[in-house]
């Protein structure tokens, strides 16, 4: 199964809005909760209450500072999980076939019973989207919640990834990026959705919506200036204006 499908019917993936992500880590923990209890081995934690706690997570939220040429530095919260690449190097390097990309929807998965835990797939992923589970010795990665999105035991509205369902800010979107008419595709088109490390040639399915331009309130000054034209310079003058203005109100004397 290590070969990549020629093409997939659908390209299911996530669209992450960097303009609204507040960096709350809700998606991180929800993912940990769902995937500990569901698909494959639980996501274990080593030294859980000790000096060097370290566990398996399939989704992690970084944060970056961006210093534009002019103006104040900005901060961007940056969630990252598997991007379900079309040209997924993690699949082709896998010697056992445990890593594969599903032909029907493009989801990249690890079949844990075939995985020998060699780690090569994680080496090959430029995004750091795979983590070896230290208790189980198998490779873990975002499953795009495959056991939710088709799950007939869940109400239809809940057949979305756990991280998407939980995101309080609504910064995560799930859908078929192969369908230009899907909500996610439209979002990507509207907001200029981008690829991470396009030069790696992995063709990620997941897209990131860039932050909108910031700190531009002063650019509007000329337009806004008339709004602030003083009605009077002195408190006395102000009261005169007030009297006239009140007259113009419904029920005023005028």
């Amino acid at each position: 199964m290590t070969q990549l499908p020629q093409s997939t019917q659908r390209k299911l993936g996530l669209v992450i809005d960097l303009d609204t992500c507040v960096g709350c880590h809700a998606c991180v923990i929800s993912c940990k909760g769902w995937n500990t209890e569901n698909y494959g081995a639980p996501l274990s934690d080593q030294d859980a209450y000790g000096a060097d706690p370290s566990g398996t997570f399939l989704n992690r939220v970084h944060s970056y500072e961006v210093q534009p040429e002019q103006g104040a530095a900005q901060l961007v919260h940056f969630p990252k999980s598997c991007l379900h690449c079309e040209d997924a190097p993690c699949v082709t390097v896998c010697p056992t076939g445990a890593s594969y990309k599903r032909a029907e929807d493009g989801i990249v998965l690890v079949n844990e019973s075939d995985c020998i835990g060699c780690g090569l797939c994680a080496w090959s992923c430029p995004y750091g989207a795979r983590e070896m589970d230290m208790a189980e010795g198998v490779m873990k990665k975002c499953t795009l919640c495959i056991d939710r999105i088709y799950n007939e035991n869940l109400p239809e509205i809940d057949r979305i990834p756990s991280c998407v369902r939980t995101c309080p800010a609504g910064a995560r979107h799930f859908g078929d990026l192969a369908d230009p008419e899907s909500d996610v595709s439209k979002l990507v088109a509207e907001r200029g959705g981008m690829d991470l490390m396009p030069e790696m040639g992995t063709k990620p399915v997941n897209k990131y919506l860039p932050p909108r331009p910031k700190d531009r309130i002063e650019d509007q000054v000329d337009v806004l200036a008339p709004l602030l034209a003083p009605v009077a310079e002195e408190p006395q003058g102000f009261l005169g204006w007030l009297d006239k203005a009140l007259d113009k109100l419904p029920g005023g004397r005028a």
Binding site: H62, P89, P95, C115, I116, E199, M200
Partner: protein
Amino acid sequence: MHPAPSVIIFTTLSGLGFGMLFFLGLGYPAVSGMTAFALFAIAFGLSVAGLVASTFHLGHPERAWKAFTQWRSSWLSREGWCAVAALVVMGLYAIGMIFLDQRWQALGLIGAVFSIGTVFTTSMIYTQLKSIPRWNTALTPPMFLSISLAGGALMCGQVRAALVLLLIAALVQLAYWHQGDRALAASGTDLGTATGLGPRGKVRAFEPPHTGTNYLLREFVHVVGRKHARKLRVIAFLLAFVLPIALLLLPFNHVFALLAALSHVAGVAASRWLFFAQAEHVVGLYYGKRQT
């Protein structure tokens, strides 16, 4: 990358072992009986020890056989096949040499091809990784091959060949280091492309996603001090190439030959340590660990 002893031992020893098998397969030296036994034992010992070491870091070594299934796409799988083919073919060939005093030339040739093929496939496991620009270069296979061949020649007592090959390997090594130090920058990947935020300004990693460590940091983010690396390179270079060449240039002496071989192995191990420890996986960018 984390310079795990298992991979260092594996690449060092199996490179040497398969390098020897290559020469033995070609009939250099054309030995038989006990001498052949001794040489084959060393070559097999090194190769197999290397292969065994490589399974140390597996999460599920008991499933290692599954690694043979994906030869169509996976260099690791191909490496497995090559290694097994080399060992089997060279095993038969060795039986002929040791016990039957027969040198089945064709078999030797095939074994030699598989042996050097094993080294090549190993090198391709690293070369193919775009995520590690230092490895993702046309020089990686020559580096592995030249060192393997030089070591093989050295171990097989092919002094003249060894001299030439050591010289070539030394030059490749220098080129490799030179190019490697520029590889990440040359790859065009930086925190700007990693986050897509580059066009907006200078990007700096602020808070990591967690205050502790994780698999990725342990496995991929190893930072070697520049001074430390320079020192190690000098040592690796002296031990792997300069000293063996010097010893070979002296009048032949078994002690010198042994010393040359030991020195070479130690040097290659140091070079391999650097090969891993200095390899910058681009995931480090996300953690702010690759900033200059």
